[in-house]
Protein backbone atom coordinates (compact mmCIF):
# COMPACT_ATOMS: atom_id res chain seq x y z
CA UNK A 1 0.00 0.00 0.00
CA UNK A 2 1.23 3.50 -0.79
CA UNK A 3 1.34 6.03 1.97
CA UNK A 4 2.96 9.27 2.88
CA UNK A 5 5.86 8.81 5.26
CA UNK A 6 4.02 11.07 7.70
CA UNK A 7 1.17 8.56 7.82
CA UNK A 8 3.22 5.58 8.94
CA UNK A 9 2.35 4.29 12.39
CA UNK A 10 4.93 3.70 15.13
CA UNK A 11 7.15 0.80 14.27
CA UNK A 12 5.71 0.45 10.78
CA UNK A 13 8.18 -0.18 7.96
CA UNK A 14 8.15 0.72 4.30
CA UNK A 15 10.24 1.30 1.19
CA UNK A 16 10.69 4.78 -0.25
CA UNK A 17 9.13 5.06 -3.70
CA UNK A 18 9.12 8.78 -4.31
CA UNK A 19 10.47 12.00 -2.84
CA UNK A 20 8.77 15.16 -4.01
CA UNK A 21 10.43 18.37 -2.83
CA UNK A 22 13.59 19.02 -0.78
CA UNK A 23 14.76 15.74 -2.22
CA UNK A 24 18.39 16.69 -2.24
CA UNK A 25 18.55 17.44 1.45
CA UNK A 26 17.02 14.11 2.40
CA UNK A 27 19.01 12.40 -0.29
CA UNK A 28 22.44 13.28 0.96
CA UNK A 29 21.43 12.30 4.50
CA UNK A 30 20.76 8.80 3.20
CA UNK A 31 16.98 8.80 2.68
CA UNK A 32 16.40 8.01 -0.96
CA UNK A 33 14.36 5.96 -3.39
CA UNK A 34 14.44 2.24 -2.83
CA UNK A 35 15.62 2.46 0.77
CA UNK A 36 13.74 0.64 3.49
CA UNK A 37 12.83 2.59 6.59
CA UNK A 38 11.06 2.28 9.90
CA UNK A 39 9.06 4.89 11.78
CA UNK A 40 10.55 5.34 15.24
CA UNK A 41 8.34 8.08 16.65
CA UNK A 42 6.05 10.92 15.75
CA UNK A 43 5.81 13.92 18.03
CA UNK A 44 2.33 15.21 18.90
CA UNK A 45 0.75 18.40 17.49
CA UNK A 46 2.44 18.25 14.11
CA UNK A 47 5.85 17.78 15.62
CA UNK A 48 8.72 16.10 13.82
CA UNK A 49 9.01 12.41 12.96
CA UNK A 50 12.02 10.20 13.57
CA UNK A 51 12.79 7.43 11.09
CA UNK A 52 15.41 4.72 10.99
CA UNK A 53 17.06 3.97 7.65
CA UNK A 54 19.52 1.15 8.09
CA UNK A 55 21.96 2.44 10.70
CA UNK A 56 20.92 6.04 10.27
CA UNK A 57 18.32 7.74 12.42
CA UNK A 58 16.94 10.99 11.02
CA UNK A 59 14.54 13.50 12.57
CA UNK A 60 12.59 15.62 10.12
CA UNK A 61 9.69 18.05 10.18
CA UNK A 62 6.22 16.73 9.42
CA UNK A 63 5.88 18.73 6.22
CA UNK A 64 9.03 17.20 4.85
CA UNK A 65 7.75 13.76 5.81
CA UNK A 66 4.62 14.51 3.76
CA UNK A 67 6.81 14.86 0.68
CA UNK A 68 7.99 11.28 0.91
CA UNK A 69 5.92 8.38 -0.41
CA UNK A 70 6.53 4.89 0.88
CA UNK A 71 5.27 1.47 -0.08
CA UNK A 72 4.25 -0.61 2.93
CA UNK A 73 3.41 -4.24 3.44
Amino acid sequence: MRKKLSELAFGETGVVTEILASGRELNCMGLRKGKGLKMVTKQPIKGPVVVLIGEVEIAMGIRMAEQVTVETG
Binding site: V40, T41, V50, A59
Partner: protein, 413 residues
Protein backbone atom coordinates in the same frame (compact mmCIF):
# COMPACT_ATOMS: atom_id res chain seq x y z
CA UNK B 1 48.80 6.43 -15.48
CA UNK B 2 47.43 8.78 -12.92
CA UNK B 3 49.25 11.88 -12.00
CA UNK B 4 49.03 13.43 -8.61
CA UNK B 5 47.09 16.49 -9.67
CA UNK B 6 45.37 17.32 -12.84
CA UNK B 7 42.82 14.57 -12.90
CA UNK B 8 40.09 16.24 -14.85
CA UNK B 9 37.17 17.30 -12.66
CA UNK B 10 33.88 15.66 -13.59
CA UNK B 11 30.40 16.29 -12.32
CA UNK B 12 28.08 13.36 -11.84
CA UNK B 13 24.36 13.75 -11.36
CA UNK B 14 22.97 12.81 -7.98
CA UNK B 15 21.59 9.55 -9.32
CA UNK B 16 24.80 8.56 -11.06
CA UNK B 17 26.66 9.27 -7.86
CA UNK B 18 24.32 7.16 -5.77
CA UNK B 19 24.57 4.32 -8.26
CA UNK B 20 28.32 4.43 -7.87
CA UNK B 21 27.98 4.54 -4.08
CA UNK B 22 25.72 1.51 -4.13
CA UNK B 23 28.14 -0.37 -6.34
CA UNK B 24 31.08 0.41 -4.09
CA UNK B 25 29.15 -0.40 -0.93
CA UNK B 26 28.03 -3.70 -2.40
CA UNK B 27 31.64 -4.62 -3.04
CA UNK B 28 33.02 -3.58 0.30
CA UNK B 29 30.40 -3.71 3.04
CA UNK B 30 28.87 -6.76 4.67
CA UNK B 31 26.28 -6.30 7.36
CA UNK B 32 25.83 -9.13 9.82
CA UNK B 33 22.81 -9.74 11.96
CA UNK B 34 22.40 -7.10 14.55
CA UNK B 35 20.77 -7.32 17.93
CA UNK B 36 19.31 -4.28 19.62
CA UNK B 37 21.43 -2.96 22.45
CA UNK B 38 20.39 -1.19 25.63
CA UNK B 39 21.62 2.00 24.01
CA UNK B 40 19.17 1.58 21.12
CA UNK B 41 16.27 0.91 23.47
CA UNK B 42 17.18 3.94 25.59
CA UNK B 43 17.51 5.90 22.38
CA UNK B 44 13.93 5.11 21.43
CA UNK B 45 12.55 5.70 24.90
CA UNK B 46 14.13 9.13 25.22
CA UNK B 47 12.84 10.35 21.88
CA UNK B 48 9.25 9.08 22.15
CA UNK B 49 7.04 11.78 23.63
CA UNK B 50 5.28 9.64 26.25
CA UNK B 51 8.53 8.59 27.88
CA UNK B 52 10.88 11.23 26.49
CA UNK B 53 9.17 14.30 27.93
CA UNK B 54 9.21 13.06 31.55
CA UNK B 55 12.86 12.08 31.07
CA UNK B 56 13.69 15.52 29.69
CA UNK B 57 12.05 17.21 32.67
CA UNK B 58 13.91 14.92 35.05
CA UNK B 59 17.23 15.55 33.31
CA UNK B 60 16.83 19.33 33.43
CA UNK B 61 15.69 19.21 37.03
CA UNK B 62 18.62 17.04 38.03
CA UNK B 63 20.91 19.39 36.15
CA UNK B 64 19.68 22.38 38.10
CA UNK B 65 19.65 20.75 41.52
CA UNK B 66 23.14 19.30 41.16
CA UNK B 67 24.29 22.70 39.99
CA UNK B 68 22.76 24.34 43.05
CA UNK B 69 23.80 21.81 45.63
CA UNK B 70 27.33 21.24 44.45
CA UNK B 71 28.40 24.69 43.35
CA UNK B 72 26.23 26.63 45.79
CA UNK B 73 25.77 24.74 48.99
CA UNK B 74 28.85 22.58 49.05
CA UNK B 75 31.65 24.68 47.64
CA UNK B 76 30.58 28.29 47.87
CA UNK B 77 28.58 28.37 51.11
CA UNK B 78 30.42 25.54 52.78
CA UNK B 79 33.95 26.55 51.96
CA UNK B 80 34.53 29.68 49.94
CA UNK B 81 32.38 32.04 52.02
CA UNK B 82 34.24 31.06 55.17
CA UNK B 83 37.58 31.26 53.50
CA UNK B 84 36.96 34.68 52.03
CA UNK B 85 34.85 36.37 54.73
CA UNK B 86 36.48 34.96 57.87
CA UNK B 87 40.09 34.87 56.81
CA UNK B 88 40.95 36.62 53.59
CA UNK B 89 38.93 39.83 54.13
CA UNK B 90 39.94 40.60 57.75
CA UNK B 91 43.53 39.78 56.94
CA UNK B 92 43.56 42.05 53.91
CA UNK B 93 41.80 44.86 55.76
CA UNK B 94 44.43 44.73 58.48
CA UNK B 95 47.45 44.10 56.34
CA UNK B 96 46.91 46.62 53.54
CA UNK B 97 48.34 49.97 54.62
CA UNK B 98 46.44 53.28 54.65
CA UNK B 99 42.66 52.65 54.77
CA UNK B 100 42.12 56.19 53.46
CA UNK B 101 44.27 55.86 50.39
CA UNK B 102 42.99 55.48 46.86
CA UNK B 103 44.87 52.22 46.43
CA UNK B 104 43.18 50.75 49.48
CA UNK B 105 39.82 51.80 48.15
CA UNK B 106 40.47 50.16 44.80
CA UNK B 107 42.10 46.99 46.06
CA UNK B 108 40.30 46.28 49.34
CA UNK B 109 37.32 48.62 49.29
CA UNK B 110 35.32 49.36 52.41
CA UNK B 111 37.59 48.98 55.50
CA UNK B 112 34.60 48.16 57.70
CA UNK B 113 32.87 45.67 55.43
CA UNK B 114 32.07 42.30 56.94
CA UNK B 115 31.60 40.31 53.78
CA UNK B 116 33.52 40.22 50.57
CA UNK B 117 30.40 41.19 48.63
CA UNK B 118 30.05 44.49 50.46
CA UNK B 119 33.68 45.51 50.43
CA UNK B 120 33.81 45.91 46.67
CA UNK B 121 37.53 46.06 46.12
CA UNK B 122 39.37 44.23 43.37
CA UNK B 123 41.01 41.76 45.71
CA UNK B 124 37.94 41.29 47.89
CA UNK B 125 34.72 41.27 45.86
CA UNK B 126 36.54 40.73 42.59
CA UNK B 127 38.38 37.62 43.70
CA UNK B 128 35.48 36.31 45.73
CA UNK B 129 33.02 36.55 42.85
CA UNK B 130 35.46 35.09 40.33
CA UNK B 131 37.01 32.28 42.37
CA UNK B 132 34.63 31.75 45.27
CA UNK B 133 31.30 31.82 43.45
CA UNK B 134 31.68 31.60 39.72
CA UNK B 135 34.53 29.11 39.38
CA UNK B 136 32.75 26.26 41.20
CA UNK B 137 29.56 27.11 39.32
CA UNK B 138 31.09 26.96 35.86
CA UNK B 139 33.10 23.88 36.75
CA UNK B 140 30.08 21.78 37.70
CA UNK B 141 28.02 23.32 34.93
CA UNK B 142 30.55 22.40 32.29
CA UNK B 143 30.92 18.91 33.69
CA UNK B 144 27.21 18.24 33.33
CA UNK B 145 27.00 19.95 29.98
CA UNK B 146 29.87 17.82 28.69
CA UNK B 147 28.08 14.66 29.80
CA UNK B 148 24.96 15.77 27.94
CA UNK B 149 26.98 16.61 24.84
CA UNK B 150 29.00 13.42 24.78
CA UNK B 151 26.23 10.96 25.51
CA UNK B 152 24.20 11.94 22.46
CA UNK B 153 21.19 13.24 24.38
CA UNK B 154 21.08 16.72 22.86
CA UNK B 155 19.68 15.76 19.42
CA UNK B 156 16.89 13.86 21.18
CA UNK B 157 16.11 16.85 23.35
CA UNK B 158 16.05 18.88 20.14
CA UNK B 159 13.39 16.57 18.66
CA UNK B 160 11.26 16.91 21.79
CA UNK B 161 11.60 20.71 21.84
CA UNK B 162 10.96 21.12 18.13
CA UNK B 163 7.19 21.43 18.37
CA UNK B 164 7.49 24.43 20.67
CA UNK B 165 10.42 26.13 18.98
CA UNK B 166 8.93 25.71 15.51
CA UNK B 167 6.02 27.88 16.63
CA UNK B 168 8.37 30.83 17.06
CA UNK B 169 10.16 30.41 13.75
CA UNK B 170 13.11 28.42 15.03
CA UNK B 171 13.39 24.66 15.17
CA UNK B 172 14.44 22.10 17.71
CA UNK B 173 18.12 22.24 16.92
CA UNK B 174 18.19 25.80 18.27
CA UNK B 175 18.43 24.01 21.60
CA UNK B 176 22.15 23.49 20.90
CA UNK B 177 23.14 27.17 20.95
CA UNK B 178 20.65 27.68 23.79
CA UNK B 179 22.27 25.07 26.01
CA UNK B 180 25.80 26.10 25.07
CA UNK B 181 24.68 29.64 25.92
CA UNK B 182 23.64 28.62 29.40
CA UNK B 183 27.31 27.78 29.87
CA UNK B 184 28.71 30.80 28.08
CA UNK B 185 27.16 32.96 25.37
CA UNK B 186 30.44 33.30 23.47
CA UNK B 187 30.65 29.85 21.80
CA UNK B 188 26.86 29.82 21.53
CA UNK B 189 26.88 32.80 19.16
CA UNK B 190 29.05 30.86 16.69
CA UNK B 191 26.98 27.73 17.21
CA UNK B 192 23.97 29.49 15.66
CA UNK B 193 25.63 28.55 12.36
CA UNK B 194 23.96 25.17 12.56
CA UNK B 195 20.67 26.90 11.72
CA UNK B 196 19.76 27.00 8.05
CA UNK B 197 18.55 30.49 7.18
CA UNK B 198 19.80 33.97 7.93
CA UNK B 199 16.50 34.71 9.58
CA UNK B 200 16.82 31.81 12.00
CA UNK B 201 20.42 32.62 12.78
CA UNK B 202 19.66 36.25 13.40
CA UNK B 203 16.68 35.43 15.59
CA UNK B 204 18.59 32.89 17.61
CA UNK B 205 21.60 35.14 18.05
CA UNK B 206 19.46 38.03 19.20
CA UNK B 207 17.30 35.96 21.55
CA UNK B 208 20.40 34.28 22.90
CA UNK B 209 22.17 37.53 23.64
CA UNK B 210 19.07 38.93 25.30
CA UNK B 211 17.37 36.14 27.17
CA UNK B 212 19.88 33.40 27.94
CA UNK B 213 21.85 33.99 31.13
CA UNK B 214 25.29 32.42 31.24
CA UNK B 215 26.55 29.89 33.77
CA UNK B 216 28.58 32.49 35.63
CA UNK B 217 25.54 34.71 36.10
CA UNK B 218 23.40 31.73 37.13
CA UNK B 219 26.04 30.80 39.68
CA UNK B 220 25.98 34.23 41.30
CA UNK B 221 22.18 34.36 41.17
CA UNK B 222 21.95 31.02 42.91
CA UNK B 223 24.25 32.32 45.57
CA UNK B 224 22.92 35.79 46.32
CA UNK B 225 19.23 35.56 45.48
CA UNK B 226 18.41 31.84 45.73
CA UNK B 227 14.67 32.38 46.20
CA UNK B 228 14.30 34.69 43.25
CA UNK B 229 16.03 32.58 40.60
CA UNK B 230 12.74 30.89 39.71
CA UNK B 231 10.81 34.08 38.87
CA UNK B 232 13.80 35.57 37.04
CA UNK B 233 14.11 32.46 34.85
CA UNK B 234 10.37 32.48 34.24
CA UNK B 235 10.53 36.06 33.02
CA UNK B 236 13.46 35.22 30.77
CA UNK B 237 11.78 32.14 29.28
CA UNK B 238 8.53 34.05 28.69
CA UNK B 239 10.51 36.86 27.10
CA UNK B 240 12.23 34.36 24.81
CA UNK B 241 8.85 33.04 23.72
CA UNK B 242 7.10 36.39 23.32
CA UNK B 243 9.85 38.17 21.45
CA UNK B 244 10.69 35.07 19.42
CA UNK B 245 7.07 35.05 18.28
CA UNK B 246 7.17 38.78 17.45
CA UNK B 247 10.53 38.62 15.64
CA UNK B 248 9.27 35.66 13.63
CA UNK B 249 6.38 37.79 12.33
CA UNK B 250 8.49 40.90 11.65
CA UNK B 251 11.63 39.49 10.06
CA UNK B 252 11.33 38.37 6.46
CA UNK B 253 12.80 35.01 5.54
CA UNK B 254 12.13 31.33 5.78
CA UNK B 255 11.76 29.00 8.73
CA UNK B 256 12.85 25.59 7.50
CA UNK B 257 11.85 22.62 9.57
CA UNK B 258 14.19 20.49 11.60
CA UNK B 259 16.26 17.95 9.69
CA UNK B 260 18.95 16.32 11.78
CA UNK B 261 20.79 13.14 12.39
CA UNK B 262 20.13 11.43 15.70
CA UNK B 263 23.39 9.69 16.65
CA UNK B 264 23.40 6.54 18.77
CA UNK B 265 24.08 6.91 22.47
CA UNK B 266 27.46 6.05 23.77
CA UNK B 267 29.31 6.36 27.05
CA UNK B 268 31.23 9.60 27.33
CA UNK B 269 34.96 8.85 27.16
CA UNK B 270 36.38 10.17 30.41
CA UNK B 271 39.47 11.38 28.58
CA UNK B 272 37.39 13.60 26.38
CA UNK B 273 35.27 14.82 29.29
CA UNK B 274 38.39 15.72 31.26
CA UNK B 275 39.95 17.44 28.27
CA UNK B 276 36.89 19.57 27.55
CA UNK B 277 36.44 20.43 31.21
CA UNK B 278 40.03 21.52 31.48
CA UNK B 279 39.96 23.58 28.26
CA UNK B 280 36.80 25.38 29.28
CA UNK B 281 37.91 26.01 32.84
CA UNK B 282 41.25 27.28 31.64
CA UNK B 283 39.42 29.58 29.27
CA UNK B 284 37.39 30.89 32.18
CA UNK B 285 40.43 31.53 34.36
CA UNK B 286 42.33 33.23 31.57
CA UNK B 287 39.57 35.35 30.10
CA UNK B 288 36.87 35.84 32.69
CA UNK B 289 38.81 36.42 35.89
CA UNK B 290 40.77 39.44 34.57
CA UNK B 291 37.50 40.89 33.30
CA UNK B 292 35.86 40.57 36.70
CA UNK B 293 38.79 42.29 38.42
CA UNK B 294 38.91 44.97 35.76
CA UNK B 295 35.15 45.45 36.11
CA UNK B 296 35.49 46.14 39.83
CA UNK B 297 38.29 48.60 39.14
CA UNK B 298 36.33 50.42 36.47
CA UNK B 299 33.16 50.71 38.50
CA UNK B 300 35.11 52.04 41.49
CA UNK B 301 36.90 54.61 39.35
CA UNK B 302 33.64 55.72 37.78
CA UNK B 303 32.09 56.09 41.23
CA UNK B 304 35.02 58.17 42.39
CA UNK B 305 34.86 60.35 39.32
CA UNK B 306 31.17 60.94 39.95
CA UNK B 307 30.19 59.48 36.58
CA UNK B 308 27.91 56.84 38.02
CA UNK B 309 26.19 59.36 40.30
CA UNK B 310 25.57 61.65 37.34
CA UNK B 311 24.27 58.80 35.18
CA UNK B 312 22.01 57.64 37.98
CA UNK B 313 20.48 61.10 38.24
CA UNK B 314 20.15 61.35 34.48
CA UNK B 315 18.37 58.01 34.11
CA UNK B 316 16.34 58.31 37.32
CA UNK B 317 13.04 58.96 35.50
CA UNK B 318 13.49 55.94 33.25
CA UNK B 319 14.54 53.65 36.05
CA UNK B 320 12.16 54.74 38.75
CA UNK B 321 9.07 55.54 36.70
CA UNK B 322 9.31 53.15 33.80
CA UNK B 323 11.10 50.11 35.22
CA UNK B 324 10.27 50.68 38.88
CA UNK B 325 13.78 50.00 40.19
CA UNK B 326 16.10 52.23 42.28
CA UNK B 327 18.34 54.59 40.36
CA UNK B 328 21.44 52.99 41.95
CA UNK B 329 20.90 50.10 39.53
CA UNK B 330 22.88 52.17 37.02
CA UNK B 331 26.18 51.10 38.65
CA UNK B 332 25.64 47.35 38.18
CA UNK B 333 24.33 47.97 34.67
CA UNK B 334 27.67 49.51 33.78
CA UNK B 335 29.54 46.58 35.29
CA UNK B 336 27.29 44.29 33.24
CA UNK B 337 28.97 45.54 30.08
CA UNK B 338 32.01 43.63 31.25
CA UNK B 339 30.62 40.75 33.28
CA UNK B 340 27.04 39.87 34.15
CA UNK B 341 28.08 37.80 37.15
CA UNK B 342 29.81 40.79 38.69
CA UNK B 343 26.77 42.96 38.00
CA UNK B 344 24.40 40.61 39.81
CA UNK B 345 26.78 40.43 42.77
CA UNK B 346 26.89 44.20 42.93
CA UNK B 347 23.13 44.44 42.65
CA UNK B 348 22.68 42.26 45.70
CA UNK B 349 24.30 44.92 47.88
CA UNK B 350 21.71 47.56 46.93
CA UNK B 351 18.69 47.74 49.23
CA UNK B 352 15.46 46.94 47.39
CA UNK B 353 12.29 44.88 47.51
CA UNK B 354 12.20 41.34 46.10
CA UNK B 355 10.08 42.58 43.23
CA UNK B 356 12.64 45.26 42.38
CA UNK B 357 15.39 42.71 42.67
CA UNK B 358 13.70 40.39 40.18
CA UNK B 359 13.16 43.24 37.74
CA UNK B 360 16.68 44.53 37.99
CA UNK B 361 18.24 41.08 37.59
CA UNK B 362 16.08 40.54 34.51
CA UNK B 363 17.16 43.96 33.22
CA UNK B 364 20.81 43.07 33.76
CA UNK B 365 20.34 39.86 31.84
CA UNK B 366 18.59 41.39 28.88
CA UNK B 367 19.92 44.89 28.50
CA UNK B 368 23.18 44.22 26.68
CA UNK B 369 25.43 41.24 25.97
CA UNK B 370 28.72 41.18 27.83
CA UNK B 371 31.67 42.52 25.87
CA UNK B 372 33.01 39.06 24.92
CA UNK B 373 29.66 38.03 23.43
CA UNK B 374 29.42 41.37 21.70
CA UNK B 375 32.75 40.78 19.97
CA UNK B 376 31.61 37.33 18.84
CA UNK B 377 28.42 38.80 17.40
CA UNK B 378 30.48 41.35 15.54
CA UNK B 379 32.49 38.50 14.01
CA UNK B 380 29.32 36.99 12.59
CA UNK B 381 28.64 40.21 10.68
CA UNK B 382 28.35 43.86 11.72
CA UNK B 383 25.03 44.51 10.01
CA UNK B 384 23.38 41.70 11.88
CA UNK B 385 25.01 42.87 15.06
CA UNK B 386 23.66 46.41 14.65
CA UNK B 387 20.20 45.07 13.96
CA UNK B 388 20.46 42.84 17.02
CA UNK B 389 21.41 45.80 19.18
CA UNK B 390 18.45 47.74 17.82
CA UNK B 391 16.11 44.89 18.69
CA UNK B 392 17.76 44.66 22.06
CA UNK B 393 17.05 48.25 23.05
CA UNK B 394 13.45 47.94 21.96
CA UNK B 395 13.09 44.73 23.96
CA UNK B 396 14.64 46.20 27.10
CA UNK B 397 12.34 49.19 26.97
CA UNK B 398 9.17 47.24 26.22
CA UNK B 399 9.80 44.20 28.38
CA UNK B 400 11.11 46.25 31.33
CA UNK B 401 7.92 48.29 31.18
CA UNK B 402 5.78 45.16 30.85
CA UNK B 403 7.34 43.58 33.91
CA UNK B 404 6.73 46.78 35.84
CA UNK B 405 3.12 46.82 34.66
CA UNK B 406 2.72 43.20 35.72
CA UNK B 407 4.18 44.12 39.10
CA UNK B 408 1.73 47.00 39.50
CA UNK B 409 -1.18 44.74 38.56
CA UNK B 410 -0.08 42.15 41.09
CA UNK B 411 0.29 44.91 43.65
CA UNK B 412 3.95 44.30 44.40
CA UNK B 413 5.60 47.18 42.56
Amino acid sequence: MQRLRGVRPVKLTTNERWDLVDAIAERTVTVGTYRQTIGDILGELTVKPATGIPVAVAVLYAFWSIFGSFAGTLVTDGFMVRLFDDHWLPWLQAAWPGPDSLLYYLAVGDPLAETCFEAFGMLTSGLFVAIGVVLPAVLIFYLMMTLLEDSGYLPRLAVLMDTVLHRIGLHGYAIIPAILGLGCNVPAVTATRILETRKQRFMMMTLLAIFIPCGAQLGVMRDVIPDLVGPVMLYLICGFGIFGFVLDRIIPGENPEILIDVPPYHWPAWENVARKLWTRTKGFLKEAVPFVLFGVLLVNLLYLAGVIGALADLFEPLFVTWFGVPKETVGPLIAAFLRKDLAVAQLSTIAMTPYQMITSVVLISIYFPCVATFVMMLREGWKQMLAAVGVLFAVVFVYGGLIHAAGILMGVA
